[in-house]
């Protein structure tokens, strides 16, 4: 198959997608974070946080729509993702500290509106619970975990499942010193990603390869640190994020895609509604999957902008 056409930046074009207006590095107390901004530099800032195994440029379609309404949209690649530094250690807590450095850089001492997708939404929800003074408002896009999708298993089957998870993860850790991501053509990487994002257009996924990957002699690879692995195990329970919702003091908007996907949390909307904070609301988009802002950028942008109100 021929390689898809690319623009003067080497990126596959996609209707409505725009490169960031500004890109720079931020020293987050020793971790180099790659920052990406859309909109005017002196406009009111809005933080936009991506999900796990994504990167800031996955907002190439959504962020410009928010910027067009007068916001300075500030995104960053989380440690180990996109153009940010590959680190020795990764954890939710490490990501949270990095996020605080972004808050301090963008709006020291002032609350700002925040939009987070998937893991970014979950992390911001947890952070809003312990540092509410930093949030003017919070939009959580399909990042409200409910609980793991574990079928009803007998005890011995559950033990076998955990043994396989833990063993697989440790085997992966033994290879991390030398691991590399598998190379391929733009189309091959796009099709690999399509297995987890079956609802997204292949042209969009091809663009992601050229914004979230790099090309070397033997082909394209994703930039994400090969030491990172999808899934995992641990004592953390996804529903603990849900339990933080009722107490959030800032205006809150949840946006859930009703179509379940592998990269999503599989949260039934009916499970979220009883936990909404006072005055909070949740929009459920029926024919949309986990990537609500990619599948329906105009609709989601209009919902978010209506919720946020005027930037000033």
């Amino acid at each position: 198959m021929t390689s898809p056409a690319r623009d003067e930046h080497g990126e596959v074009p996609f209707d409505g997608a725009e490169r960031p207006a500004r890109q720079y590095d931020l020293d987050a107390h020793g971790v180099r974070l790659a920052m990406k901004e859309w909109g005017e530099p002196d406009a009111h800032p809005l933080l936009l946080m991506h999900g796990g195994f994504d990167f800031a440029r996955t907002f190439d379609g959504f962020a410009p729509r928010l910027a067009a309404a007068g916001w300075r949209v500030v995104c960053w690649d989380q440690r180990g993702h996109g153009d940010s530094e590959h680190c020795p250690l990764y954890s939710f807590e490490g990501d949270t500290r990095d996020t605080l450095a972004v808050f301090d850089h963008v709006a020291p001492g002032r609350p700002v509106p925040v939009v987070g997708h998937s893991k970014g939404g979950a992390l911001m929800t947890q952070l809003a619970d312990v540092q509410p003074h930093r949030f003017r408002s919070l939009v959580n896009m399909d990042g409200i975990p409910y609980k793991r999708n574990i079928p009803d298993l007998a005890e011995h089957e559950r033990t076998t499942m955990l043994a396989n998870e833990v063993g697989g993860w440790l085997d992966h850790r033994r290879r991390t010193a030398t691991n590399q991501r598998k190379p391929g053509t733009i189309d091959e990487l796009a099709k690999r990603r399509a297995r987890m994002n079956p609802r997204l257009p292949i042209e969009w996924l091809q663009r992601l390869v050229t914004t979230g990957g790099f090309e070397s002699d033997d082909g394209w690879r994703w930039k994400i640190d090969p030491a990172m692995r999808f899934g995992g195990f641990g004592p953390w329970r996804p529903e603990w994020i849900l339990m933080r919702l009722p107490g959030l003091p800032m205006p809150f908007l949840g946006i859930l895609g009703a179509q379940m996907e592998e990269m999503g949390w599989g949260t039934p909307p009916a499970k979220v509604m009883p936990y909404l904070p006072r005055g909070g609301r949740c929009e459920v988009l029926d024919d949309v999957g986990h990537f609500v802002h990619v599948e329906a950028p105009d609709l989601v942008a209009s919902i978010v902008l209506d919720f946020l109100g005027d930037p000033s």
């Binding site: 107390h29 680190c87 020795p88 490490g94 619970d129 312990v130 833990v166 440790l170 850790r173 004592p235």
Partner: protein, 221 residues
């Protein structure tokens, strides 16, 4: 004592070989407590152990790499211990080790006994810093940057590993794994006096013995 360096992702782990193999006994791996480091010599209580004795410095501790900006978890330390296990059993498909963990090292030893059950012939859990761990559910713990000069122990390790989530049912899941795959009949020995909720649940689980350090060493030797 000699020290080998084991590469775990971007971390160089220091594994101290306190005593070489003296016979056919299986290796004993010592896992230190939170904020601590490996001993320089074989502890007195381990002198009668019939095999080699090694001690691992966890990430951010002792002679191992101190990374920038934290991101610790017990599971990361479990992977550290798994690198030591891989070194100690080398290519012998039938080899197993016994683990003695102190404080935080006891929790990691329990995890290793479950995660690599066929390769761990007994884990002995002792008192020490980091034994308690943190909350067992959602909490309001906050997040701060810490000054760090690269010296061990890493302040991020002290903070993050001193308050990690330790629900009892998570800990006992490793007991179940150990029971299902360990060559030992009773693969976990609890010798700690202080028993936080996770450890109390472990003691009550099948396959766990509540005993003294000397008896545990005799059982697993």
């Amino acid at each position: 004592m000699s020290t080998v360096s084991l590469r775990h992702n971007r971390i160089d782990l220091a594994l101290h070989e306190l005593r070489s193999a003296t016979g056919t006994g299986r290796p004993l791996l010592l896992l230190h407590a939170l904020g601590s480091r490996s001993p320089d010599a074989v502890p007195e209580w381990a002198h009668t152990w019939p095999g080699a004795i090694a001690a691992l410095d966890f990430t951010g501790h002792g002679a191992s790499t101190v990374p920038r900006c934290g991101g610790y978890s017990p599971e990361l330390l479990l992977a550290d211990a798994d690198h030591a296990l891989a070194h100690l059993v080398a290519d012998d498909p039938d080899a197993a080790i016994t683990v003695v963990g102190t404080g935080l090292g006891a929790y990691i030893g329990l995890q290793l006994a479950g995660a690599r059950a066929p390769r761990v012939h007994g884990a002995i859990l002792l008192d020490g810093p980091g034994l308690a761990g943190g909350p067992t559910g959602p909490s309001s713990h906050n997040h701060f940057h810490l000054p760090s000069d690269g010296r061990a122990p890493d302040p991020y390790a002290l903070m993050e590993l001193g308050r990690d989530l330790r629900p009892a049912d998570y800990a006992t899941s490793f007991v179940r794994l150990a029971n299902s795959g360990s060559p030992a009949d009773t693969p976990i020995a609890v010798c700690a006096t202080f028993r936080p909720a996770w450890l109390a649940a472990v003691v009550d689980a099948p396959g766990v013995i509540d005993t003294t350090l000397d008896d545990a060493l005799s059982t697993f030797a």
